[in-house]
């Protein structure tokens, strides 16, 4: 029997207020497995080139993987796919929490949303019953209040919700989708949802996920759990989660003052030991024994009384490095504020750091900022800037476009100050301090995303598959492909990306979990899984190629290519972009001139249909 999947796709046309159920095709299951495989194939098939990201024809595809809702560990995340208003290309964003498992309990594998509702609505899904309910009274509310009021309206505290805040409603290009303080944050999925007049999706399900071979599945889960417990990083990660700012500062690759320095002053104030003092309690995603999440609260200083779930490492960085100031209270308050407003913390912090540099250079002045003094070391304006971005007020209206578009509009050299690739702002790693990690940021199909091919070899010193020198550009093309393709096939099951980065789950156990849950024999074959990983990356690239993307878009701002890190443990390093891109395209079997897969590569991966 086939298990894991619910064999049901829900299509929602918001314009026509129409719901359609479809079965999952066997070919889609076999050829793409699930998660990221389903997302890219469906988006490629459904969207015509040139589709307006904020128009009626763009889709939002929500999916949970075949193992979501089971007792396998760390597999109950969900992903969202769409054409991004920030990059103009293919996008994937993902989130932990409880929403993914609930989607499965409601009997669904996928929700595909198209069209635009004539007025604000929220989608209610309750065990096969689908409704579009009025959301005019919710419009303008923050994410926390939206959760509360929907639960009250439905008289159900167990309903699981994914929603947008004011930022998504106002089309902030990096607005995210939020579910119980967890975020599918990057790329502007919140803006796509806002453009569709869709405030939220509320799901309640009481079903369960069947398994093809219960006995084999139980054995594989047992092996997974034992692997977690035996891993040297398990207990540290359980305790401190992603509170790792000290490691990146100690390596001199903590981007500071808009990627002009490698560590932030007084970074000791942001160490994990300091956050542990503020820990209130631990949190976790559905069926995950790691419980890496934390509730942290600050009880003194300017931000006394603020609390948040997190902040994750990226967010700690976003509200310290970009403004050149270490204030633990701000990292907590700004994280919660972004969650409430529905903003991606990485792009928000990076865009604020961009504004600080423009202010320093006199490209913008107090007249533009409404009197705010954006001087490095002064983090006081940050909360006000977040507010202005979320509500598109004052300079926030311009910053809401992201650094690439804001730079274009401002001109006067501002274009050079946006630290982004394909329009997506770089996260909390200086590519000059970790070359494979950087090469991934450069080539990831969604723009500068760390999770597309995280290089734990360089960032954490994890010697899998081999030991590497983070500062060397040698032999990084093949390694980057390895990290990206591994991540791609692990994201068919939507495994949390932290696990492979720590070596906590082997490919072999992953394959046996998939096979025993679904009954599909090929899923146990790791060679097949690697092929699917490569296939996904290539199909994503072909989606973008159809939109006009190519080698010209795999490029860092001049700063990272030509200026070296000035001091610290990464001092003197620049990113050798041309050489590394050549290495990468060669490793991928892509055309070195265009950065696009060759006909031979596409046919080898059964992607010949993209040549039509």
């Amino acid at each position: 029997m086939t298990g894991g999947y619910q064999n049901k796709v829900l299509r929602v046309d918001l314009t026509k207020r129409k719901f359609t159920e479809e079965p999952l095709s066997e070919a889609l299951i076999h050829d793409y497995i699930g998660g990221r495989g389903f997302g890219v194939k469906l988006l490629y098939d459904d969207l015509k080139p040139g589709t307006d990201p904020l128009g009626e024809d763009n889709e939002l595809i929500f999916t949970a993987g075949p193992l979501a809702g089971t007792n396998a560990q760390s597999f109950s995340r969900y992903k969202v796919f769409f054409k991004s208003p920030l990059t103009g290309g293919y996008f994937k964003s993902s989130s932990g929490g409880q929403f993914g498992a609930e989607l499965k309990f409601a009997g669904l594998d996928l929700i595909i949303i198209s069209g635009i509702a004539d007025k604000p609505v929220f989608l209610s899904i309750n065990d096969g019953k689908y409704e579009l309910r009025d959301a005019e009274y919710l419009w303008g509310l923050d994410c926390d209040d939206t959760h509360t009021l929907i639960r009250e309206e439905l008289s159900d505290n167990n309903v699981k919700i994914a929603c947008i805040g004011p930022a998504g409603e106002r089309g902030v290009k990096y607005a995210g989708i939020f579910s119980e303080r967890r975020a599918a944050g990057r790329g502007g999925g919140g803006a796509v949802m806002g453009a569709k007049n869709l405030k939220a999706i509320a799901i309640r399900g009481r079903g369960k996920v069947e398994l093809a071979d219960k006995q084999a599945y139980a054995a594989a889960v047992k092996e997974q759990v034992a692997g977690y417990q035996a891993n040297p990083q398990f207990s540290t990660f359980s305790q401190s989660g992603t509170w790792i700012a000290e490691a990146l500062n100690a390596m001199g690759m903590y981007p500071t003052k808009n990627f002009r320095e490698g560590f932030v002053p007084e970074w000791e104030k942001l160490e994990s030991s300091e956050y542990l003092k503020l820990l209130v309690r631990k949190t976790r995603c559905y069926s995950c024994m790691v419980h890496c999440g934390s509730i942290a609260k600050i009880a003194s200083g300017r931000y006394a009384g603020s609390w948040t779930e997190g902040p994750e490492y990226e967010t700690i960085w976003a509200f310290s490095g970009p403004v050149g100031h270490s204030d633990i209270g701000l990292t907590i308050a700004a994280d919660k504020y972004c969650d409430d407003m529905g903003l991606d913390t990485i792009s928000t912090g990076s865009t604020i750091g961009f504004a600080y540099e423009l202010y320093e250079k006199g490209i913008i002045t107090k007249a533009d900022t409404g009197g705010l003094e954006l001087t490095y070391g002064n983090s006081e304006p940050v909360m006000e800037l977040i507010r202005q971005i979320a509500w598109r007020e004052g300079i926030g209206d311009l910053l809401a476009e992201g650094t690439r578009e804001a730079g274009r509009r401002i001109g006067k050299g501002a274009e050079e100050c946006g630290i982004q690739v394909k329009g997506l702002e770089l996260p909390a790693y200086d590519p000059r301090g970790a070359k494979s990690h950087g090469l991934n940021l450069l080539t990831a199909n969604i723009g500068a995303d760390h999770n597309t091919g995280y290089a734990p070899q360089e960032v954490f010193g994890v010697p899998i598959p081999r030991e590497v020198d983070r500062l060397s550009s040698e032999d990084k093309g093949e390694l980057t492909k390895w990290n990206q393709d591994l991540t791609a096939f692990l994201e068919t099951g939507i495994l949390c990306s932290f696990m492979p980065s720590m070596g906590m789950l082997s490919e072999d156990v992953y394959g046996r979990l998939l096979r025993s849950a679904t009954g599909v024999k090929d899923f146990e074959d790791t060679a097949y899984l690697w092929k699917i990983g490569e296939k996904i990356t290539n199909l994503e690239r072909m989606f973008n190629a159809r939109e006009g993307f190519g080698r010209k878009d795999d490029t860092f701002p001049r700063r990272l290519r030509e200026e070296s890190v000035p001091e610290g443990p990464s001092a003197g390093s620049v990113f050798e972009e041309k050489d590394m891109l050549d290495q990468y395209y060669k490793a991928r079997g892509w055309d070195i001139e265009t950065g696009v897969p060759t006909k031979e590569k596409l046919e080898e991966l059964d992607l010949g249909f993209t040549l039509k």
């Binding site: 040297p232 990660f237 790792i244 000290e246 100690a250 390596m251 760390h450 983070r470 720590m502």
Partner: protein
Amino acid sequence: MKLEVLFFGKFRDITGVSRTEAVIEDGSRLADLVNYFGAQYGKEFAENVDGIPGLRILVNGREYYLLGRMEAPLSDGTTVVFLPPVAGG
């Protein structure tokens, strides 16, 4: 020669400091620095260097295993970081 040394996690517990200076003989290697701290803070220091799986030791920001592990050469002004494993991001 004089070295700057940063301690994290368990090493901070053992030494009671987050950062210190070490003055050791010219030509010393990483193993000599570990012995130096062993003499200062007791055998628990060396035991943890050997015993923490995935321990990172950064010598001027580079992994010690790329520099000859415990034979990694040190020089005046070098920064050494003892960092128990972290993950995530």
